[in-house]
């Protein structure tokens, strides 16, 4: 039913109520003011006056008293007569006052209803606009309706949906971007690894030939071979890192208690770095999550590794949750992240370490792992120290 029809219906009901009220008020008011003209009252008063007159004749000594009573009754009778003569007018005015009060109340209610309907229409129009924007593919929609009624709930859902879509798009964009990097890394690794193997074999063969023909040069050749191998190993390590980045696979999800996973990690890796691992258990009624525990550990290792390299002495793990997600915050007291790097922190090959001391792939791999889990990895606080938030969907949550 449209707002206009609804308003007309309410208006018709209000008019009916007014008519019903008027009929009721007429019956009530007329019967209320009928007492003045009631035949029984009048007969009794007349009889009483006659009695006083008779009494005065029978008992003349108290004549003055009977006369006074007679006058008193007469006074009341006359007043009742005046009221009876004006009965219809009194009833009419009384009805008019009641009707005015009732009609004012009804009119006020109608005005309030109309105002509420108009407000509701405006809110629905805003919802419609937001839904149209959502259907066009717009994201980060803000409706700014914080009411707790159905419309407010729908507005909150639309905003949440648009945020989710925006998040999904960013995730997909990142994964696409990362996939391109992975493909490049895979090709680079392949292109380097093939000649690397051939070079190693050729060097070995050359050293063997030289050693067989010239014993004097053998020692020098072996020394050169070791040196070349060392460089080739460095190149192999380089390609291995490329390969591992390119081969980050899809997680094999299994049900795990996050709290237990983190606790085990802290126990297992307690001596891996010169960093104290602290697990602050916070209230989390249900921390069951679907994760690939090995990959999840790799994420935590990467984060702890970065913290250790940033000079942290303590890494703290905290678990929190909301209706849809479980969060694990990993906070350290290290040097923090360079503000200039923050925008591209999760891009591959982003590092502050000197060349040759790391490829800057750890955070990119970790983020990809968490995105593949349906979660995310974000930097939430920077300085003092750095705090990363690992999120993953709660089991059974729709989002």
């Amino acid at each position: 039913m449209s707002a206009r029809r609804s308003f007309l219906l309410v208006l018709a009901l209000a008019v009916l109520a007014l008519i019903a009220f008027q009929l009721f008020a007429r019956r009530v008011s007329l019967s209320s003011f009928n007492f003045a003209g009631a035949r029984e009252v009048r007969t009794l008063l007349d009889a009483s006056m006659d009695d006083q007159k008779r009494l005065s004749r029978i008992d003349p000594a108290r004549g003055a008293e009977y006369r006074r009573r007679f006058e008193e009754i007469g006074n009341v009778t006359r007043k009742l007569d005046v009221v009876a003569l004006n009965r219809d007018e009194i009833a009419r005015r009384y009805e008019a006052i009641l009707f005015a009060v009732f009609a004012t109340g009804v009119a006020l209610a109608l005005v309030l209803y109309a105002v509420a309907m108009r407000r509701r229409q405006r809110r629905l129009a805003r919802l419609q606009t937001a839904l149209e924007a959502l259907s066009r593919g717009d994201v980060d929609i803000t409706i700014a309706d914080r009411s707790r009624d159905v419309i407010g709930s729908i507005a909150a859902m639309i905003e949440q949906t648009s945020r989710d879509i925006a998040g999904d798009r960013r995730r997909l964009q990142y994964l696409d971007h990362l996939a391109a990097w992975q493909e490049a890394a895979r090709r680079h690794a392949h292109e380097i690894r093939t000649p690397l193997t051939a070079a190693r074999l050729e060097v070995d063969r050359l050293v063997s030939t030289v050693s067989r023909h010239d014993a004097a040069l053998a020692q020098t050749a072996l020394h050169a071979q070791a040196s070349i191998h060392e460089e080739l190993d460095r190149l192999r390590e380089f390609t291995r890192e490329f390969t591992s980045f390119a081969r980050v696979g899809q997680p094999r999800l299994a049900k795990h208690d996050l709290w237990r996973c983190v606790q085990e990690f802290c126990a297992t890796f307690a001596d891996a770095w010169a960093v104290e691992l602290v697990f602050e258990r916070s209230p989390c009624d249900d921390c069951m999550v679907l994760i690939d525990n090995e990959m999840f550990r790799q994420v935590l290792v990467n984060l702890c590794n970065n913290s250790a390299l940033a000079g942290a002495t303590r890494v703290t793990f905290r678990i929190g949750d909301d209706r849809a997600r479980v969060r694990l915050e990993v906070a350290d007291d290290g040097a923090g992240i360079d503000a200039a790097l923050r925008g591209r922190l999760f891009e591959p090959y982003t590092t502050t370490r000197p060349i040759g001391e790391g490829m800057g792939l750890g955070l990119a791999i970790s983020k990809k792992i968490m995105l593949d889990h349906g979660g995310d990895l974000e930097l939430v606080e920077n300085g003092p120290g750095a705090t990363f938030r690992v999120t993953m969907p709660r089991i059974g949550a729709s989002a």
Binding site: M49, K53, R67, F70, E71, G74, N75, T77, R78, K79, D81, V82, V83, L85, N86, E89, I90, R92, R93, Y94, I97
Partner: protein, 201 residues
């Protein structure tokens, strides 16, 4: 058929008006005086009202061709203890005529002879518009009843308020009651008639 009925009704009304038409005459001092017909007292509503014990007021007003106005009134009250009619008549000259009449017949007789001074210096007046209004009670009786009813309803309202421990708002309730009573208990004519009279000399 319908037209004939309307014509007959109008003729009847005209005949009734002509029957109780007052007599207007010019006194020697150029005062226009009016004498009302006793038929008026026999009118059902008037007769009933006169016997009620309230002061029935007969208000007579006159307007001449020059739009000059004059007025007089007769107040009749039946006194039930002594069973007499107390009558006071006042003309434009403010002189009061008082009478104490034992029976309705004596009242009718007095009525037939009462000349009400209505318009002074009326020697040039030949025809005038005369209006009679019968008011059922006096202004004093009106005020007395208003006070009585206001007090009675006010006390009932206060009692209700006390029962409900809602003493506040009593004044507001009373003011509404007073307004209701003050505007509804008013003297409204129970009978009204208008004539165009010819002044006799």
């Amino acid at each position: 058929m319908r037209g004939a009925f309307v014509a007959l009704t109008l003729l009847g009304a005209m005949h009734a008006a002509a029957a109780n038409e007052p007599i207007a005459r010019l006194r020697a001092d150029a005062m226009l005086v009016v004498t009302l017909k006793p038929d008026l007292l026999a009118h059902r509503d008037v007769r009933k009202q006169i016997g009620s014990g309230l002061t029935t007021t007969f208000l007579v007003t006159i307007t001449d061709a020059q739009n000059r106005k004059g007025a007089a009134r007769i107040e009749v009250r039946y006194e039930p203890w002594d069973e007499v009619y107390l009558v006071t008549a006042r003309g434009i000259d403010a002189a009061a005529q008082r009478a104490r009449l034992e029976t309705f017949e004596r009242l009718a007789e007095w009525w037939s002879n009462a000349a009400l001074p209505l318009l002074p210096s009326a020697s040039a007046v030949t025809r005038a518009q005369l209006t009679l209004e019968v008011l059922p009670f006096s202004i004093e009786e009106q005020k007395e009843t208003q006070r009585w009813l206001s007090r009675a309803l006010g006390e009932a309202h206060r009692e209700q308020a006390m029962d409900a421990s809602e003493v506040r708002g009593t004044a507001g309730g009373n003011s509404v009651l007073d307004a209701l009573i003050g505007t509804s208990i008013q003297r409204r004519p129970i009978f009204r008639q208008r004539w165009t009279v010819t002044v006799t000399r």
